[in-house]
C-alpha cells in the first residue's frame, strides 16, 4: 500500500475535496485541475503542491474552459473542473451536455471523456436566486453523465476519487450545507466509494426515507427524533443520482412499504420525482401508503431570510410526513 499523504484525523467535507484532489493528482500525472480563482481560494494547498501545468487558473469563461477540459480529456488528460457556484454550470451546459455527455456515443465509442465537473450548491444563505440553485435534476436528464451528490466527508473523498478514476464524464454536486460536517476519513490513497452504490445511513423497519444531498441533514435529525418516539426509519442516501442504485432503494421499500422522499431541488421533475416514479412502476405492490415527496417548491430562492428559510423541507416536515404514513 502507498504511504498516506495525510495524517489520520477528523476532516470536514471541504477538506475531503482538497485531500481527494491532491491524492489523485499525486497518483496520476494526467490529472489536472482547472477553474476560476484556484490560486487564492480553498485550493491554495493544491497550487503550492503542483506545477502550473497541473493547475490552470482560468478566466471567467465557463463554457469554453469546460470545452478545453473536454478536449484535454479526449486526448489523454483527466481534468477536474471546478465551476464554483452550481448555477454557473448552466453557462457551461453546451460543453457539458452537448459535448462531454454525447461525444463518446456520437463517435460510436471512438473516444472517452474522463472529466470531472465539480460545483457547489449554496443555498439557505441569503444569496438570492442566481446563486442558490440545486440543479442536479436537470443534469440527470442528460444521458451520458454520471451524477454524484455526496453528503459526508468520507463519501465526498471516496466518490471524488472514484470520479477522477472513472473514464466517463462525471458531474459532482457539492452541498455547502455539509461543508463543516466532520468525520474520520480514510487516509489510504486508494480509498474509494463506488459510483452507483447507495448507503443505508440507518436501518429500520417502519418507513423508508430517501434523502438527497443536503436534505440528509434534516432527515438525520428527524430519524433520531422519530426513534425516540418508537418509529423505526430506514434512512437511505443514494449518493449517486446517475446511475441510481435502484436495488437498494427498492429492497428498502419492499421491507417497509412506506416511502418519504426529501429533496431540496425544485419539485417538478426532481430526483425525488424520478425515484418515486421508479418505486411506483417497480414496487407498487409493496407500498402500503402513497409515496410522500418533500421538496422545495417551484419558486426562485428569495433574498430575504424570512422568505427563504421556510422553503426547504425541515426536520419537523419530515417527521410529520412519516407520521402521516403510520
Amino acid at each position: 500500500m502507498e504511504e498516506p499523504l495525510f495524517p489520520p484525523k477528523r476532516i470536514s467535507y471541504v477538506e475531503a475535496i482538497v485531500q481527494a484532489q491532491i491524492e489523485e493528482m499525486r497518483r496520476d500525472e494526467r490529472v489536472i485541475l482547472m477553474g476560476e480563482d484556484l490560486s487564492v481560494y480553498g485550493d491554495g494547498l493544491i497550487v503550492k503542491s503542483f506545477s502550473p501545468m497541473r493547475v490552470w487558473n482560468t478566466p471567467i469563461s465557463e463554457n469554453s474552459f469546460c470545452g478545453l477540459a473536454v478536449g484535454a480529456a479526449m486526448t489523454g488528460l483527466r481534468p477536474i473542473v471546478a465551476l464554483n457556484i452550481a448555477s454557473f454550470m448552466y453557462l457551461a451546459s453546451d460543453q457539458i451536455i452537448n459535448q462531454a455527455a454525447k461525444l463518446r456515443y456520437m463517435t460510436g465509442g471512438n473516444m472517452k471523456i474522463p472529466a470531472v465537473f465539480r460545483c457547489s450548491m449554496f443555498y439557505d444563505k441569503s444569496i438570492a436566486a442566481q446563486h442558490s440553485d440545486r440543479p442536479y435534476p436537470m443534469y440527470m436528464n442528460a444521458p451520458g453523465l454520471k451524477i454524484l451528490a455526496p453528503t459526508s466527508p468520507s463519501d465526498m473523498k471516496g466518490l471524488l476519487k472514484s470520479a477522477v478514476r472513472d473514464d466517463d464524464p462525471v458531474v459532482l454536486f457539492e452541498d455547502t450545507s455539509m461543508w463543516t460536517a466532520k468525520e474520520e476519513v480514510s487516509t489510504d490513497p486508494d480509498f474509494l466509494v463506488p459510483i452507483g452504490k447507495a448507503a443505508i445511513r440507518q436501518s429500520g423497519n417502519d418507513v423508508t426515507i430517501i434523502a438527497i444531498a443536503g436534505a440528509m441533514k434534516p432527515a438525520l435529525a428527524a430519524v433520531t427524533a422519530l426513534q425516540g418516539e418508537g418509529i423505526s426509519v430506514e434512512l437511505i442516501d443514494p449518493r449517486t443520482l446517475v446511475p441510481l442504485d435502484k436495488q437498494t432503494l427498492l429492497e428498502s421499500v419492499a421491507k417497509t412499504g412506506r416511502l418519504v422522499l426529501v429533496d431540496n431541488a425544485n419539485r417538478t421533475c426532481n430526483a425525488a420525482a424520478e425515484i418515486a416514479a421508479i418505486v411506483v412502476e417497480e414496487a407498487f405492490e409493496s407500498l402500503k401508503k402513497p409515496v410522500i415527496r418533500l421538496s422545495t417548491p417551484d419558486v426562485h430562492i428569495p433574498f430575504s431570510p424570512a422568505l427563504e428559510k421556510p422553503l426547504y423541507p425541515r426536520k419537523e416536515d419530515i417527521m410529520a410526513a412519516v407520521k402521516r404514513l403510520m
Binding site: 489536472i32 501545468m53 497541473r54 490552470w56 482560468t58 478566466p59 469563461s61 463554457n63 469554453s64 474552459f65 469546460c66 470545452g67 478545453l68 477540459a69 473536454v70 478536449g71 484535454a72 480529456a73 479526449m74 486526448t75 489523454g76 488528460l77 453546451d94 460543453q95 452537448n98 459535448q99 461525444l103 463518446r104 456515443y105 456520437m106 463517435t107 460510436g108 465509442g109 471512438n110 473516444m111 472517452k112 474522463p114 444521458p143 451520458g144 454520471k146 472513472d166 473514464d167 466517463d168 459510483i195 452507483g196 446517475v242 446511475p243 435502484k246
Partner: protein
C-alpha cells in the same frame, strides 16, 4: 514550407476526393439512400486541404456540421465515412453520428460539433493537453464565419492567447451563416481582425488558393509548434450549394444572387484553379485525369462498402454510452426490442 510536387499532387487528390465524395453523397442523399441532413462543403476544398496539408497525422482537428471534407482532407479512408452517412454499423461511428459527426480518431479527428462554435474550445483543450503531455502536437480548429460570433470563439481565443496554446483557429469564411451574410452579422467583414484584440496573429488568405492556404497554415503551425502560441487564419471561401442539400433556402434568391453563385462556380472553383496551376507547372493532364479516375473508383468502392454494411441492431442502442456502463432502464412496455 512550400508543397513539393508530390505534396501538390496529394493536395489535388484530396480536393478531388472531397468533391467526388460529396457529389456522390449528394446523389445518394437525394435518392433517399442517406438519411438525415446533408451539408456539402463543395467550393471550400482549397481551404480544407490547404490547412490539413500543413498538419501531421498526429495533430488534431475539430470540425463542424459541414464536415465531410475535414476528415478526408486530414487523410481519412472513405469506406467508414460513407457507411456512416448511410447509418450503417460499419460506419466510422457505428451509425451513431452520421453526416455531421464523422469522427475518424485514427487521423486526429476530435469530432465535429454540429453546435456552431462548439469545437473551438475542444481544439484548444487538445492543444493544452499536448502542452501538458510535453508533445509537439498542434491542434487546428475549423469553424465558419457564423461561429466567429459565438462566445466560445472569443473566450477560447483569449485563453489560447493567455496560455500560448499550440492551436490554429481556422475560419472558413464562406460569407453566409446559412442565409445571414457576414456583412449583416459582423461588425467588420474581416474576421481575422478580431485576432488583434487578443494579441495574436490574424491573417486573411484566399481560400480558393490551396497553395496560399497551405503556406499560411504552415506558418501558423510552425509558430504553434515552436511554443509561440495560437494564430487566427481567415480563409475567404464560398459554398457552391445551399446550406443543406434539398433545403432550398434560396429559391427566390433572397440572400445571394444567382450571378454571384455562377461567378464563383465559373471563376473561383478551387479545384479548377489548382488544376490550372499544376498544368502550368508542367504536370501533365494525363496525371491529373488518372488521379480523378482513381478517386472515382475509390468513392465507388466506398459506396459499395456502405451499401453492403449491415444496419445496427436496435438492441445495441445503449452501446457506447459509457466506458463503464451503468444499469440502463428497461425499454418501455410494448417495445419490440
Amino acid at each position: 514550407m512550400n508543397l513539393d510536387t508530390q505534396q501538390q499532387l496529394e493536395a489535388y487528390r484530396r480536393m478531388v476526393r472531397i468533391r467526388t465524395f460529396e457529389e456522390e453523397g449528394t446523389r445518394l442523399y437525394t435518392a433517399g439512400r442517406i438519411p438525415g441532413a446533408y451539408h456539402a462543403s463543395i467550393g471550400q476544398e482549397g481551404a480544407i486541404v490547404g490547412a490539413c496539408m500543413a498538419l501531421r497525422t498526429d495533430d488534431y482537428i475539430t470540425g463542424t456540421h459541414r464536415s465531410h471534407g475535414h476528415p478526408i482532407g486530414k487523410g481519412a479512408k472513405l469506406d467508414g465515412l460513407m457507411a456512416e452517412l448511410m447509418g450503417k454499423k460499419t460506419g466510422i461511428c457505428k451509425g451513431r453520428g452520421g453526416s455531421m459527426h464523422l469522427a475518424d480518431t485514427s487521423v486526429g479527428i476530435l469530432g465535429e460539433s454540429a453546435i456552431v462554435g462548439g469545437g473551438i474550445p475542444i481544439a484548444a483543450g487538445a492543444a493544452m493537453s499536448a502542452r501538458v503531455r510535453g508533445t509537439d502536437q498542434v491542434s487546428l480548429c475549423f469553424f465558419g464565419d457564423g461561429a466567429a460570433n459565438q462566445g466560445t470563439f472569443h473566450e477560447t481565443l483569449n485563453m489560447a492567447a493567455v496560455w500560448k496554446l499550440p492551436v490554429i483557429f481556422f475560419c472558413e469564411n464562406n460569407l453566409y451563416a446559412i442565409t445571414t451574410s457576414v456583412e449583416k452579422s459582423h461588425g467588420h467583414p474581416d474576421i481575422a481582425r478580431r485576432a488583434h484584440g487578443y494579441d495574436i496573429p490574424g491573417v486573411i488568405v484566399d481560400g480558393q488558393d490551396v497553395v496560399a492556404v497551405h503556406a499560411t497554415a504552415a506558418t501558423a503551425v510552425a509558430r504553434a509548434r515552436r511554443g509561440e502560441g495560437p494564430s487566427l487564419i481567415e480563409a475567404k471561401t464560398y459554398r457552391f450549394d445551399e446550406h443543406q442539400v434539398g433545403l432550398n433556402t434560396n429559391n427566390d434568391r433572397l440572400y445571394r444572387a444567382q450571378s454571384e453563385i455562377e461567378h464563383y462556380i465559373a471563376n473561383r472553383d478551387p479545384i479548377l484553379l489548382f488544376k490550372g496551376v499544376l498544368l502550368k507547372n508542367g504536370i501533365s493532364g494525363t496525371t491529373l485525369s488518372t488521379i480523378n479516375e482513381e478517386v472515382a473508383s475509390e468513392v465507388a468502392r466506398a459506396i459499395a462498402f456502405g451499401e453492403r454494411g449491415a444496419l445496427p441492431d436496435p438492441s445495441e442502442v445503449y452501446q457506447n454510452m459509457y466506458v463503464n456502463p451503468i444499469n440502463y432502464p428497461p425499454l418501455p412496455r410494448g417495445s419490440r426490442l
